[in-house]
Each structure stands twice: as C-alpha cells, then as structure tokens.
Subunit: 163 residues, 2 copies
C-alpha cells in the first residue's frame, strides 16, 4: 500500500503557494523546476487540485496557479484525496459469498465486521489528515528552515511570480 509520488509533489507545491504573497501565481513550469519533477506529469496532479477547488489556474502568459481559498481552509486530507482519490484502502470483493456451503446467490446486506474494522482504521487516518491545515504547515516550515535558505528561496520564487 503506497501513495502516489504525486502526493508528495502537490503537498510541496501547496506549501509553496501558501507562502506566496496574496493573489500571486506560479506556473506549472516554475513549480516543476523548483522541485525537479517532470512538468507534464506534475501538471496532471495540479489539474486534479484545480478540479476540486483547492487551487485555481489562469491561462495565458503571466498565468499559473494560486490557492483558491485561504490556506487555513485547506487540509492535508483535501490535498491528498484530490490526487489519490477518496476510495477506501480496503476493497471488499465479497469473498464470503463464495463459500460452497452457502446457498447460491447469498448476499448478506451490509458490510461485515472485517470490513468495518478496516474502514474504521481508514477513518482514523483521514481524521488525522483532516486536522492538519495547510497554513499550519506553512508556519512550521517558516519556523524550521534556516533564514538564509528562506531568503534565497524567496528571491528565486519572486522572479517567477506572475501577476
């Protein structure tokens, strides 16, 4: 069970966008170069974010992405599920219905205890991620990064900001 690496990419992208001045945009190209990942593929992930309203893109030169709402209103869960999908990690194929001693066409209604327990664990995972906001991440990153690195990064980003 492994998350896509796009999850890591968009989390970092959102962190960057959250640290930008109000209303500023960054292009996919800039975000891809900054993180050293393929631009075309990162683009797909950012489109997923745009579709669920986490970021919003704009066309043309000076176009790019910015957060569609305040960073404090964006949770880790929002970002992860935008890329990874909201499905359960435990998929049930109803193998309990295959038992040769059961009547054919036997379909008990509702999930059994096995599925309930697995799904409860999923819920715990989701709750944990839902409790973490993007703004909290940006604050923390600003606090633990060395000052010189922060200013160099800020300078590099400033040159790439559009609009």
């Amino acid at each position: 069970m492994q998350l896509r690496n796009q999850v890591e990419w968009v989390l970092h992208c959102c962190a960057i966008l959250a640290m930008l001045p109000e209303g500023a945009r960054l292009s996919t190209r800039a975000l891809a170069e900054f993180h050293g990942v393929p631009k075309e593929y990162l683009s797909k992930a950012l489109q997923s974010l745009a579709q669920v309203g986490i970021v919003e893109g704009s066309l043309g030169p000076a176009g790019g992405y910015r957060l569609a709402r305040p960073a404090s209103a964006i949770s880790f869960l929002d970002i992860v599920e935008a890329v990874e999908g909201g499905g359960r990690s435990f998929a049930c194929t109803e193998i309990r219905c295959n038992a040769p001693c059961h009547p054919p066409g036997f379909r008990p209604e509702g999930p059994c205890q096995v599925a309930r327990i697995m799904w409860r664990a999923d819920d715990a995972w989701r709750r944990e991620l839902a409790a973490q906001s993007l703004s909290a991440l940006a604050d923390q990153l600003g606090r633990e990064l060395p000052a010189d690195l922060q200013s160099r990064t800020a300078g590099w980003l400033k040159k790439r900001i559009s609009s």
Copy 2:
C-alpha cells in the same frame, strides 16, 4: 492507495482458523475452495503469515495450517502487515533537495513537517488495527451470522479438518 486483495483473503482465513477447535488444521486447498480464490496464490499469502509466526503449517497428508498462538494474541495489524509489509504509505523522495536555489548536495537532516504529518496519520491507522484482536472478530462473527448458516459452515469445515 489500495491494499492487496490478499489482505481480505488472509483476514477471512484467520477468522476461520480462529473458529476451529483447538489444534485443528485446514489445508490451503480447503481454505481456497471455501473462499473461491486461487489456491496457489493464496498459498503465498499464507506463507507470509507463517514466516512471521501468525500461523504454522505442517507437511504431509493431514497437514495444513493452524494459528501459531491464541487468537486473542493476534491483532489485525499483525495480519495486515504480514501480507502488506510494514512500510509507510507516504514515501519521501526528498524533492526538497532539488530546488535550484539550494546549494548542491544540500541534505537537511531528519524528516520535514510534511513527512511527519503523513507518518502520524499512518501511525493512527496502525494503532486502530493493533487494537483489534482476532478473537474479538471471531466472537463478533459468531454473534451476527444466522444460526443455520453457522451450522452448515461448521459441518463443511468439519469434513475438511485434518489432524
């Protein structure tokens, strides 16, 4: 992010083994027929369980698997990790080191806040599964399955029990 379907298989297999009389064994063939899954592939999953000491197999006719310790001492997490591996769901490829404005060879020590948050969610997931024992599952299944189905199942299993 999706768990292997082997996880569903071995959870059901363990539930069956837990409901067997003390010391009784079931062969891979019987377990595969009961669940309607390919015997050879299920065998791989059961071998994973055997390697970490959840079940123990024995050779020869009248051979098969039984639980290696009391069902109360086996957690869902034990079973899931035996098949799925104990790795983290969030894999970090250190893309923060790729920023063109960072000094080459830049490697901050320790995981950043992003990874810490994702891993905390993983821990919550694990904690939830670790809290659920196999014996509790067997009890619950015995309580919620219709009585006639239970007796028919018990009869079918009885014929397949070895030793």
